[in-house]
Homo-oligomer: 305 residues x 2
């Protein structure tokens, strides 16, 4: 069987025109090189070199072979290099999923941008879905990694890591009495101050998300919130607040949205109501690109939390 060794030997002999000097370059002795060239000629079934009293020259068939051998040797080096780049996460692809509420967090956008800058050769695919749809997509290997809000149950086969906790804000119509009151004293809103308000909450049909967490926190504060409206889209929640139909509770990153008619006020931390951000991926050994991305997310979290 022809091996790359044969190709290397033939190319070096062709370059030197002299078997003894070629052997020196290759770090072996002249007789084994002579033999290996003979073996190669047998395997190929053609005379590649014409032996002269002083050195050798390529036959025309030999020239054909050596020209192609040179290219093949270079291609092998390129294949190894490309494989290494891929293993280091410098090329390849990554499918990243995130929930609607995670989409606004600067960590997500910063991490994606960083990956694109560090490894321009990586192709990034983004997917926005519900938590449970993202988990299904992970299991089906449709995506490689996902930002989700709540830690998922039945996470067998997945690794789910808490990246950060985001403080919560109250979104109110800017004409609300609490907004005017706010202007005179700077302290977070107590959940109990919202006992008489109409709540507008975003509830995804396929998963609990914030909904149950907010209900539970109000219970701890001593009241049951009047959920007057449920919105099918996160953006709809804010639209309803702007229309003066009620108030909502949202994670800090959503306050970045420029929406007329809404004021965002911080919620008191004693409510123990936070918006966690988790990173989920499959348990199996990760490719270079995924490892690099996880590393970027972990490094960015402290300053963007």
């Amino acid at each position: 069987m022809i091996e790359l060794r044969h190709l290397r030997y033939a190319v070096t002999v062709a370059d030197e025109g002299h078997i003894t000097r070629a052997a020196e370059r290759l770090g072996i002795q002249q007789p084994p090189l002579s033999q290996q060239i003979r073996n190669l000629e047998d395997l190929v079934g053609a005379t590649l070199f014409q032996r002269l009293p002083r050195g050798v020259t390529l036959t025309e068939a030999g020239r054909t072979f050596v020209d192609k051998a040179r290219i093949i040797l270079k291609d092998v080096d390129l294949a190894v290099e490309a494989t290494r780049r891929n293993a280091r996460g410098e090329e390849g692809s990554l499918a990243i999923g995130f929930t609607s509420s995670a989409a606004f967090h600067p960590l997500v956008t910063t991490a994606v941008r960083s990956l694109g800058e560090i490894s321009p050769g990586v192709r990034i695919k983004l997917e926005e879905s519900s938590t449970s749809d993202l988990i299904d997509a992970l299991r089906a290997q449709l995506i490689d990694v996902a930002f989700v809000r709540s830690p998922v149950e039945l996470s067998k086969g997945l690794t789910v890591s808490r990246i950060l906790d985001e403080e919560m804000f109250v979104a109110l119509p800017d004409s609300h009495r609490l907004v005017a009151k706010r202007a005179r004293r700077a302290s977070p809103i107590q959940l109990s101050e919202l006992a008489d308000e109409s709540f507008i909450l975003y509830r995804r049909p396929s998963g609990p998300g914030f909904y149950d967490a907010i209900i539970a926190a109000c219970g701890r504060a001593g009241f049951s919130p009047r959920v007057k409206h449920e919105a099918p889209r996160l953006m709809s929640t804010l639209s309803l607040v702007a229309a003066g139909l009620g108030i909502s509770i949202i994670p800090n990153s959503m306050t970045r949205l420029e929406t007329n008619g809404i004021a965002y006020l911080p919620l008191d931390r004693k409510t123990q109501l936070v918006a966690p951000l988790h990173l989920a991926h499959r348990d199996e050994p990760s490719g270079g690109t995924l490892r690099l991305f996880i590393d970027i997310v972990r490094r960015s979290a402290p300053e963007l939390g």
Copy 2:
């Protein structure tokens, strides 16, 4: 050092997704294949396969490597095939030289055409020069083979083979008395019949060619020819004959030229004046294309001589 064996092993394992089945396809046992794959991963510096309880799958880096390995293995096969075709004379190039007087012989044109038909992949280069220039070009490896008329002296390092002898003809103005005489009896012209004629001979400055042979044949016939004109080009010779300035002696193949005002009459064979055609090439082992061409020439000579 990575070898083609490694590439073959990796591609087969990838195709099977199962090391034991891949080993069977490769004709080796499972443990050495497992070891060789591990060695390859060390050499490349990346994990190529993810081991599962039942079989293996490619990592993304592994997919990069195997895709390129597949192409390289195919290129090696193509390189061997192209080398074999070249060795068989089915591709490559051949530089063929010929003297002016040889150019008209149907053997030359037929052989060149046959080579082109048998091996369309061969690139043919034609060169017309004097005998001595062709010999120089052979020695300088500017051409591979040459049709020459006279056997050359100092043919060291060359093989010169007589291919055929061409009978000679007399070229006369068609108003010549010998032409009219010819119409009444059909027998070749005796050289002695030309004793009083003005001769026009083609003499290359760099070599004797026909010139001296004609002079010698006339001497054998009992006279010294009156060489009234010497032409620097073979075609010029015929132009002067057409102009009625004399007669010339030319090889049979030149009679194929359609030239007004000239009649061609065969010369008696007893003159022992023939136009030989030789094939010259270097002594060294010939490439496939040259061997094929020499074979074509030898096979065609009997029916075109």
